[in-house]
C-alpha cells in the first residue's frame, strides 16, 4: 500500500511519538535554565531521595569535593553539645520554605557565621532539590534514636536466674553433685543482686550528672563566665523566694534586642529567643535540679540568710556550656553540709542565738554549726 510507511517504520514512528509525549514533560525542567528550575514543582522519585540522603551524608563527590551536611548537623540524637542546629531543626525550619531558599542559604549565605562555614559548596540546583526532599522526609522520621544501654539490666537478670536455679538445685533437684558450687553461685549472685538493689534503689529519684540539652543552647560559660553577668541579674528571685527562678524573656531581651549573633552558634540560637519573645511563647527549659515533692527547699534562706554561694551547690556554673547537676542533692549531702558548716555571727540573721554566740566567744564550744541552730530539724524541710 504505502512503501514509505511499512510496518517497521510505523513502529519506529509510534515509538518516537510515544517517547516525546511521555519523556519531554518529565524532563522538561532540564530544558529550562537553572534559575527557574526551582519554580517547577515536581515530585521526587525514589532514586532522587536516595541521592539526596547520600548528598546529605557527604557520600557523593561533586568535582572532587563533597558537601557533608551530617558532619555538622546531627542526624542522630546526641547528649553532647553541638553548637550547630541539628538536622531536624534545620529541616523543620525549611519545611515551609522553598528549595530556592535552601539554595540561597547553602550557596549564598547571609550571616557572618554561616558565610564562614557554608563555603564553596558545589551543588547544582538539582542536588539542592534532592537534599530538600531528604530533609522533608527527615521532619517526619525525626532524628535517629540511640538504643538504650542495658548491660546492667541483663547482668541483673542473669544473676537472678542463676540465683534461682542454684537455689532450686540446692533444695530440690540436686543436679549439680557438689553442693559447694551451688553455695558459691548463691553467695556471689546474692551479693551482686543485693548490691544492685540497694545501690539502684537509693539512686532512684536522684540524678547526679544529669545534663540535658536545652531547647535553646544557652551557655553559662559565655554569659556568666566570659561576660561575667551576675547570677542574680537573671535569677533574681533567689534572694527573696524559695525558687531561684528562670529569667523571663524580657530579661534576655535586655541585651539580645541588640546582640543577634553568637560567636559559635551564629543567629540560629538567638533567633529562637527573639521569635519566642515576639510570638509571646515561653521557652520550654528543661529543669535540671529537681527535688522530690516531699522536700521543701528555700533559696532565699540559703542565699540571703545563709550567704551560700551558688557554686557551693551547683558547681562551677560559669564553666559549663550545658548545665549539669554536679551533686546528687540527696538528704545525706544536705545534712553533711548542715553538720559541718559554721555560722558567721556577723550575719544579722543569727543575732537571735545570743547564748550560742556567747559560749562560742568564750571558747566553751569550738564551732557552731547549722545543725546546732535547728538546721536538721525534720519539720524544717518535711512538713
Amino acid at each position: 500500500m504505502c512503501n514509505f510507511l511499512d510496518i517497521k517504520r510505523v513502529k519506529y514512528l509510534l515509538a518516537a511519538l510515544f517517547l516525546t509525549i511521555v519523556i519531554i514533560p518529565v524532563r522538561a525542567d532540564l530544558i529550562q535554565d537553572a534559575d527557574s528550575v526551582f519554580s517547577v514543582g515536581r515530585t521526587l522519585k525514589a532514586e532522587d531521595l536516595i541521592r539526596g540522603e547520600r548528598l546529605f551524608f557527604g557520600l557523593v563527590y561533586l568535582e572532587n569535593k563533597s558537601v557533608n551536611c551530617a558532619a555538622c548537623h546531627n542526624v542522630r540524637e546526641s547528649d553532647t553539645l553541638n553548637w550547630n542546629p541539628n538536622a531536624l531543626e534545620i529541616s523543620r525550619k525549611y519545611q515551609s520554605k522553598s528549595a530556592s531558599d535552601l539554595n540561597t542559604v547553602l550557596l549564598k549565605p547571609a550571616g557572618k557565621k554561616l558565610a564562614e562555614v557554608h563555603k564553596e559548596f558545589m551543588l547544582s540546583p538539582e542536588d539542592v532539590i534532592m537534599i530538600k526532599g531528604y530533609m522533608d522526609r527527615l521532619v517526619d522520621s525525626g532524628l535517629k534514636q540511640n538504643k538504650p544501654v542495658i548491660t546492667n539490666l541483663i547482668l541483673f537478670i542473669i544473676a537472678s536466674f542463676l540465683f534461682l536455679f542454684s537455689m532450686t538445685d540446692l533444695i530440690i533437684s540436686k543436679i549439680v553433685k557438689r553442693s559447694w558450687i551451688n553455695y558459691i553461685i548463691l553467695l556471689s549472685t546474692g551479693l551482686f543482686i543485693t548490691y544492685t538493689l540497694f545501690v539502684e534503689g537509693i539512686a532512684l529519684g536522684r540524678s547526679p550528672g544529669y545534663s540535658p540539652l536545652q531547647p535553646v543552647k544557652f551557655s553559662h560559660a559565655v554569659h556568666a563566665g566570659q561576660n561575667k553577668t551576675d547570677c542574680f541579674y537573671c535569677h533574681s528571685s533567689a534572694k527573696t523566694s524559695k525558687s531561684a527562678g528562670i529569667p523571663p524573656e524580657n530579661v534576655c531581651m535586655n541585651c539580645h534586642i541588640v546582640v543577634r549573633n553568637g560567636t559559635r552558634s551564629g543567629v540560629s540560637e538567638i533567633s529562637k529567643v527573639i521569635s519566642a519573645y515576639e510570638n509571646l511563647k515561653p521557652i520550654e527549659w528543661i529543669k535540671v535540679h529537681n527535688l522530690p515533692d516531699h522536700v521543701f527547699f528555700s533559696h532565699a534562706q540559703h542565699v540571703s540568710a545563709g550567704k551560700v554561694t551558688c557554686q557551693e551547690c551547683h558547681g562551677k556554673v560559669e564553666e559549663m556550656d550545658v548545665i549539669s547537676q554536679v551533686n546528687d542533692l540527696s538528704m545525706g549531702w544536705c545534712i553533711d553540709c548542715h553538720r559541718t558548716k559554721e555560722i558567721n555571727f556577723q550575719n544579722k540573721f543569727y543575732t537571735e542565738y545570743k547564748d550560742l554566740e556567747n559560749r562560742f566567744q568564750k571558747g566553751e564550744i569550738d564551732t557552731v554549726t547549722i545543725s546546732m541552730v535547728g538546721g536538721i530539724e525534720c519539720m524544717k524541710c518535711h512538713y
Binding site: E200, W285, I286
Partner: protein
C-alpha cells in the same frame, strides 16, 4: 493424705496380718523415698517458682529501665514586676454572694487565688471568714461553671445575644409589658444605682429581690414598728445579756463573722474586766451558738411564740406596758425577765424564726427594754438581705398569670430553693423573654432562653456597703477564666 494418687484408706486391706505388715512396709518405703528429697509431683511448687521468677524479672526490669520523667520550667515571657515566682501576692477584696458578706485577703500564687482569709484591718469582720467564704476560692475553679453564653442551650456569641435581647426588650417595652429583674439581695450601691437607671428606661419595670434564706419577717417587723424595712446591726460588745431564741448568730444567722469578734470581746476577760456577757439560749435544734451559751434550754418550735409572749407579758408587767392575754409558758420566766430588766438598755433579744408575729414580739420586748438606742442599731443597719417574701409571692403569681413578659434573673436559683418551684418553672413558660445570669451550673440554668454567664466575684470589680455607712471595694484577683461578662456590663 494422698501420696502418688493413692488413698491409704482405699488400699486393699490384706487378709492376713503378715500381708498387712508387708503393705505397711511398702507404705513406709514410699514415705522414706519422698522425705529423702524426691521430686514432689505437686503443681504448687512450680507455680511458686514461676511467680518468684516473674516478680524478680519485673522488678529488675523496672529498676533498670525506668527513666525519670523530664521536668520542664516555663518562665514568663514578660514578667509583671510585682510577681516573684514562689512568693504569694495578697489582694484585698470583698466577698458577697447574696447571703454573706466578708472583707477578705486573697492569697494568690502566679496570678491564681489559692487561699482566702479575713482582712484584719476590716471593721466588719477582722480576720474572720465563714465556711462559704473559704469554699469560694474553689468555686472559682469549679468545672461546673458556665463557660460560654448560650441560646436555647446552644453555644452562642455575646454579640448575637445582645442583639436579640435588646430588640426583644424593646418590643416588650413598646407594648408596655412587665419586665422583672429577679435578683438576690444586692448590697453594692453602684449596682443599685445602675439597676435604677436600667429600670428607668422601661415603662413597666420591677425589681424583685428574692433571698433563698429569707429574713423577710425581720424586715417587715422593723418596717411596721419603726417605718424602716431594715435589719439592724446588733452590737454585742455593748450588751450585758443576750437572749437568743432559735437565732444561731454565731453560726449562720445574719452575719456571724461580724458578730463573733464583738461577742468574744465581751466573753474573754482579758483586760481585767469583771463581768461577762451573759448568754441565754433557747433552741429547737443543736447549734454552735447554743453550745456557747451559759444557759441553753430546749424548745419546741410550737412553743416559741408562747415563750416570747409570756416573757413580754412579764416584762410589761414590771415596766408598766400593755399585758396581752396569753398562755403561760411551761417554765417560770420571771427570773429571766428580772435579769433582762436589770440590764435594760444593755441587752439583746433575738429570734431567728422567719415569722412576722414572732419578730413583732421580739421588737416589742427590745423596745420595752430600751435596747434600740445602743445595742440594736437601726441607723447603721446591716445590709445583708432585702428580700420580702410577700413580694416574691406576688411576683410568682404574676408570673403564672402571664403578666410578666420579660424575666431577667441574676444570682438566683428559684427552680431549686423556692418552696413551690414548679410554679416558677410553669410561670417561666408564660414569659416571652427570659435571661439567666449565673456563675455555676444549677437547677435554673437551662430553663431560660438566654444564658449569660457572669464573672465569679474573684474576677470582678465591685463595691459593697455591708453596714450603712461602711463602704468596701472588690477587685479581681484573676483574669476571667471563661467567656463570661461582668453583671454590670449587661446593662
Amino acid at each position: 493424705m494422698e501420696k502418688n494418687g493413692q488413698n491409704p484408706d482405699k488400699l486393699d486391706k490384706p487378709a492376713s496380718g503378715y500381708d498387712k505388715m508387708k503393705e505397711m512396709d511398702k507404705h513406709n518405703q514410699l514415705l522414706d523415698e519422698l522425705e529423702s528429697g524426691g521430686v514432689l509431683r505437686q503443681g504448687t511448687s512450680r507455680r511458686d517458682f514461676l511467680k518468684v521468677l516473674g516478680f524478680s524479672f519485673a522488678s529488675a526490669a523496672v529498676l533498670a529501665s525506668c527513666k525519670r520523667p523530664v521536668q520542664q520550667a516555663l518562665p514568663y515571657v514578660i514578667q509583671p514586676p510585682e510577681v516573684t515566682p514562689g512568693k504569694s501576692l495578697y489582694y484585698a477584696t470583698s466577698f458577697f454572694d447574696g447571703h454573706e458578706y466578708g472583707s477578705i485577703l486573697v492569697k494568690t500564687r502566679d496570678g491564681r487565688p489559692i487561699k482566702i482569709e479575713g482582712n484584719d484591718l476590716s471593721l466588719f469582720n477582722r480576720e474572720g471568714t465563714t465556711a462559704r467564704v473559704q469554699a469560694s476560692v474553689l468555686s472559682l475553679y469549679d468545672d461546673a461553671r458556665l463557660k460560654h453564653p448560650a441560646i436555647d442551650n446552644n453555644q452562642a456569641s455575646w454579640s448575637e445575644i445582645d442583639e436579640k435581647v435588646i430588640s426583644e426588650l424593646g418590643k416588650i417595652n413598646a407594648e408596655g409589658g412587665e419586665i422583672v429583674l429577679l435578683t438576690s439581695s444586692i448590697i453594692s450601691p453602684s449596682t443599685v444605682k445602675l439597676i435604677g437607671e436600667f429600670g428607668a428606661g422601661f415603662k413597666n419595670f420591677k425589681w424583685v429581690k428574692y433571698d433563698a434564706v429569707s429574713y423577710s419577717s425581720l424586715l417587715e417587723a422593723n418596717s411596721l414598728c419603726f417605718g424602716r424595712p431594715v435589719i439592724p446591726d446588733y452590737n454585742f460588745q455593748k450588751a450585758d445579756i443576750v437572749v437568743s431564741i432559735n437565732a444561731d448568730f454565731l453560726g449562720a444567722w445574719l452575719s456571724p463573722v461580724h458578730f463573733i469578734p464583738a461577742y468574744v470581746s465581751r466573753r474573754k476577760l482579758n483586760n481585767g474586766e469583771k463581768n461577762m456577757l451573759r448568754h441565754i439560749h433557747f433552741e429547737s435544734g443543736m447549734s454552735l451558738t447554743g453550745a456557747n451559751a451559759d444557759i441553753r434550754k430546749r424548745l419546741k418550735p410550737s412553743e416559741e411564740r408562747i415563750l416570747l409572749l409570756d416573757l413580754y407579758n412579764k416584762i410589761a408587767q414590771k415596766k408598766g406596758g400593755e399585758v396581752f392575754p396569753a398562755t403561760v409558758y411551761k417554765e417560770d420566766l420571771s427570773d429571766l425577765a428580772d435579769k433582762l430588766i436589770a440590764s435594760e438598755g444593755r441587752s439583746i433579744l433575738v429570734s431567728g424564726t422567719n415569722n412576722l408575729g414572732i419578730q413583732l414580739i421580739v421588737n416589742g420586748i427590745n423596745y420595752l427594754l430600751g435596747n434600740y438606742e445602743k445595742c440594736i442599731d437601726l441607723n447603721n443597719n446591716l445590709n445583708i438581705a432585702s428580700g420580702i417574701d410577700s413580694q416574691t409571692e406576688s411576683f410568682v403569681n404574676d408570673l403564672n398569670s402571664g403578666k410578666v413578659k420579660a424575666l431577667l434573673m441574676y444570682n438566683v436559683n428559684p427552680a431549686f430553693d423556692y418552696p413551690d418551684s414548679q410554679r416558677i418553672l410553669s410561670g417561666i413558660k408564660n414569659t416571652r423573654l427570659t435571661v439567666n445570669m449565673a456563675v455555676t451550673l444549677n437547677e435554673t440554668v437551662g430553663k431560660a432562653k438566654y444564658e449569660c454567664p457572669v464573672n465569679h466575684y474573684l474576677e470582678s470589680w465591685d463595691d459593697a456597703e455591708p453596714v450603712q455607712g461602711q463602704l468596701s471595694l472588690s477587685q479581681p484577683c484573676i483574669n476571667p477564666l471563661f467567656n463570661t461578662r461582668c453583671f454590670r456590663i449587661h446593662y
